[in-house]
């Protein structure tokens, strides 16, 4: 069997979701009205609020939601076999994923373009909004730890990527100078930038860094280098560095995703077949039981809480007419499902031995090379393709993380205002926002970090679904299509956070800290430090659980109150 068939299956499934279920949901629940004025027109200022076409917004929404989540998440899910992962990506997106993205946009549009912060304040009071902020703070810590760990692993595992990454960063900085200082046209600048990116890959291939250069301390070293780069990136003004780097980076990243998808579709002709078994086990020692762990491992491909923040804070303010919400929200999310499936394909074409067991998430690169080399130059191009795909992983992680660090700083300033205001200061917040994740990154194994991140991310999705449900119940509309997915996501993610916290607590009780494979912190005398960090992991997990549970309780109360107030007669969600 080749990956072509399940990509085809996904296309059919997502087609049915978009043209069948989404159309019904649109008519039965939200009843969008093309004649109703949207916030983009109501408050048009050309800055925050202005209407753009649904095709532009679809592209923007897709770019905003597609990153490493759908690419790497399937790796952990594969520990249970590819069949459950495939089912979750298709069915999860069909019934839950796009509904959350679409609903987030519509709730904000019907609330004068307000984001989830003010909406949670309105529905759940000040406590709800503050809990959301606290939750976001812990979520960002785990997010940062997972991504710093990934960059460190990739730089060590793929020696061609470090100098290639530096080349891309330099290309971005040059792009910014050409555009803002020299006032060169965007077309010429983009051409120059793409040539520089291509040269960066060549540089990386010809100037590889030595592998395991500091022995067991190599990973902490690369993580520290990553933090130093992120510090500079998040301190510099946005237009000087991160903004042009993001622009330049997305071209190779998007082309890589496209190349894999084409490779999956051409797989019957190229003779690439699936080598992973469809089913492996109900539970694994590293990740735990299939429920709830698989449902949080594939973050983004099936559903992601981050999307609700994007949809409610940005996309909703550019929506031209309400009827565009379905192509934008549902269209972008279902497209992202295809990205997750293409990534799953990249893992599935490797045998379990080639994939290297747990921890070798870089197997995605080998799978991507296998899927694409048949039509992109053959075996002779394998080394360059490997460097290229590995580079896309690094720049995906690095560019996102630079912005996460900036976001952490802003949230810190908001949360710590008052007596602990010094924690929100620019350099202090940045140092904390990188130092703590560095500590987590060098001790926690990739699987554990990712499952924590996935749990927090998917819990955010469950809470977003509850906010959508509360809006719908207040408007007297149908709530079942969002209420049941919300309940499923909240219960699943809270359970996953508890299980992960228990894994760390159990490691402490046994005196054998949970650390990444080959980490120097696993052996005396450093194991005591690792046990202390494991304790911090337990605390973070329990904090996420407690904050999430509080949000869920507040949301349930608001839902019940809304149901009592709404009356009996169902109507459209058009208050």
């Amino acid at each position: 069997m080749s990956p072509f068939w399940f990509v085809l299956l996904a296309l059919l499934g997502y087609g049915a979701a978009y043209f069948g279920y989404a159309r019904w949901y649109d008519r039965a629940v939200w009843r969008p009205d093309a004649g109703r004025t949207t916030p983009a027109h109501m408050y048009m200022d050309g800055v925050e609020y202005f209407p753009v076409s649904r095709y532009v917004l679809w592209g923007y929404q897709y770019k905003s939601v597609a990153a490493l989540g759908p690419i790497l998440g399937p790796y952990i899910a594969l520990q249970y076999g590819w069949l459950p992962a495939l089912i979750w990506i298709i069915v999860g997106n069909f019934f839950i994923g796009w509904i959350q993205d679409y609903g987030s946009i519509m709730v904000s549009v019907r609330s004068q373009g307000r984001s989830f912060g003010p909406i949670s304040h309105e529905t759940m009071g000040a406590g709800g909004r503050n809990t959301l902020l606290g939750f976001v703070l812990f979520y960002l810590l785990i997010f940062s730890a997972a991504f710093i760990h990934l960059v460190a692993v990739f730089w060590n595992e793929f020696p061609a990527t470090f100098w290639a990454t530096m080349g891309v960063l330099a290309a971005g900085a040059i792009t910014g100078q050409l555009l803002y200082r020299a006032r060169v046209s965007i077309v010429v600048t983009t051409g120059v930038a793409l040539v520089l990116v291509a040269l960066s890959v060549v540089l990386g291939v010809h100037a590889p860094t030595p592998a395991d250069v500091f022995g067991p301390w190599t990973l902490p070293f690369w993580a520290a280098v990553c933090c130093a780069v992120l510090y500079v990136a998040s301190i510099l003004p946005l237009p000087s560095f991160i903004q042009p780097v993001n622009y330049v980076s997305f071209f190779p990243a998007f082309l890589a995703v496209l190349a894999i998808l084409i490779g999956a579709l051409l797989s019957p002709a190229l003779g690439v077949t699936l080598r992973e078994p469809a089913w492996k086990a109900w539970t694994t020692p590293a990740a735990g039981p299939i429920w709830p762990m698989m449902f949080v491992a594939i973050a983004c491909g099936a559903i992601s809480g981050w999307h609700s923040l994007v949809g409610s804070s940005s996309t909703s303010r550019q929506l031209d007419v309400e009827t565009d919400a379905r192509p934008v929200g549902a269209g972008a999310m279902l497209s992202e499902g295809l990205l997750a499936l293409a990534s799953l394909a990249a893992f599935m074409v490797l045998s379990p031995r080639e994939a290297g067991g747990t921890g070798n998430v870089g197997a995605w690169v080998d799978g991507a090379v296998r899927l694409t080399k048949g039509y992109l130059g053959g075996p002779a191009a394998a080394a360059a393709l490997k460097a290229y795909f590995a580079l896309t992983l690094v720049i995906f992680a690095l560019t996102v993380q630079a912005l996460v660090t900036r976001f952490w700083r802003l949230v810190s300033a908001e949360v710590f205002q008052g007596r602990a205001a010094w924690l929100g200061r620019r350099h202090v917040a940045t140092l904390v926002g990188l130092g703590v994740p560095w500590l987590f990154a060098v001790t926690g194994g990739w699987t554990n970090l990712w499952l924590y991140f996935g749990g927090a991310n998917q819990l955010l999705a469950g809470l977003a679904l509850m906010l959508i449900t509360i809006h719908l119940v207040r408007a007297g509309s149908r709530t079942a299509p969002t209420l049941w997915p919300a309940a499923f996501m909240i219960v699943t993610t809270l359970a996953s956070l508890l299980i992960q916290a228990w894994f760390f607590a159990r490691a402490i009780l046994r005196g054998r800290p949970l650390v990444g494979a080959g980490s120097p912190l696993g052996a005396p005398p450093w194991h005591l430090a690792a046990i202390a960090v494991n304790g911090a992991f337990v605390a973070v997990g329990l904090a996420l659980f407690a904050l999430g549970l509080r949000m869920a309780v507040l949301a349930c109360r608001a839902y019940v109150a809304g149901r009592r107030a709404a009356g009996a007669a169902p109507a459209a969600a058009d208050d």
């Binding site: 408050y43 753009v52 923007y60 770019k63 984001s115 998007f254 923040l309 940005s314």
Partner: protein, 100 residues
Amino acid sequence: VNPPARPVLGQTWAQAGWAGRARAFLWGLFCFEWHREVQEQRARAGDALHLVVFGELVGLPLVGSAVGLRLLPHLYPLLGDWRRRQSADHDVVEEAPHVH
């Protein structure tokens, strides 16, 4: 780079065809985020200018009213948006879309 808000003046998307739609999608994919950032930075600089010149309208007389009055005809069209942005509720969560 300005957004292709409409395919071509006077045309519908159906008349613009798939090429027009693909162009709009790709512009949204690669350029729209940067376009928004640039607009926001320009607005921030403009807001600072408004605050200096017309600060007395919000209780901050930073520059003499004579200067403000001379600049008023040039800046008047932007005053409404400035006032709305200053008085709007801003939540830190709204910064989330800039991550990615």
